[in-house]
């Protein structure tokens, strides 16, 4: 935890405030996110993303499902549905392993909102897609799925 906190502190002011608030347990996902976690969106691997989001490591879980086409013809628009059956799901993130930056989107799920998100992302090439779930005990869980892309959506 200390190492993670140090690296967060080195980041931008906004991210540091967010990191501190999370470490101190003051961070409520229900409150408006005025700041954008720049550090997390610049990470390249699952482990780094988990650290930037305030965790230590992620364990694989069968309680998380990713629904998407197995083959995406157009990488510019790939639909994903992520659902978590883990109790006390607090946040759900979608990561695309081979995109220039791994983290695509992060959703905070307050009490009363179903841990179920449907959205569309870009994929540069065939890649593993990871659904990352944070539970209220601060632990991270993930599930992954390979999606083949015929036409990339990031380059040009």
């Amino acid at each position: 935890m200390d190492g993670g906190r140090r690296s967060v502190l080195k980041g931008t002011g906004g991210a540091a405030v967010l990191g501190l608030a999370m470490a101190a347990g003051l961070f409520r996902p229900g409150s408006a996110w005025a700041e954008w976690n720049k550090n997390a969106f610049e990470t390249k691997s699952l482990n780094d993303a988990v650290k930037a989001l305030g965790g230590a490591s992620a364990t694989e879980s069968k309680e998380i499902t990713i629904t998407s086409p197995d083959i995406a013809e157009n990488g510019a628009v790939v639909p994903f549905t992520i659902a978590s059956k883990l109790p006390n799901t607090e946040a759900v993130a979608l990561l695309v392993e081979k995109n220039p930056n791994i983290l695509a989107a992060n959703f905070a799920i307050p009490q009363g909102t179903e841990p179920w998100i449907n959205t569309r992302v870009k994929m540069g090439q065939t890649s593993n897609v990871i659904a990352l779930v944070k539970t209220s005990d601060g632990k991270f869980h993930y599930a992954s799925k390979e999606v083949k892309v015929t036409l990339g959506g990031c380059g040009g």
């Binding site: 229900g30 005025a34 628009v77 989107a105 307050p110 909102t113 179903e114 449907n118 870009k122 959506g153």
Partner: protein, 103 residues
């Protein structure tokens, strides 16, 4: 000012299912124009949804979210006639809020 969002909020069982379609370029900052110059990134960073003033979803997005983003989610405790409000903010500081009534 950006184009309005299309928002639908319908009861599905005892939950409200919200579907949002936003009009935004979602430029990644990876692409180059015809002269080889990088097109600067321009994308929605924060999305917040509220129901009767209570936040039901908040999101942070990177440029990997597809152009003209679509988002769907479900929350409990809503009833027909309630208002659902969605706000997004992009990395240029542009902001847009739209509202829908639960049907």
């Amino acid at each position: 000012m950006a184009d309005p969002m299309k928002i639908r909020a319908n009861m599905v069982g005892d939950k409200v299912e919200v579907k949002v379609l936003m009009a935004h370029e979602m430029e990644t900052g990876q692409r180059k124009d015809a002269k080889g110059a990088t097109i600067p990134a321009w994308f929605i960073q924060n999305v917040t949804a509220t129901h009767n003033g209570k936040t039901v979803l908040s999101a942070e997005w990177g440029p990997a979210v597809a152009k003209n983003p679509f988002l769907s989610f479900r929350f409990a405790g809503g009833k027909p006639g309630d208002k659902v409000q969605i706000t997004w903010t992009d990395n240029k500081g542009d902001k847009r809020t739209d509202e829908a009534t639960v049907a």
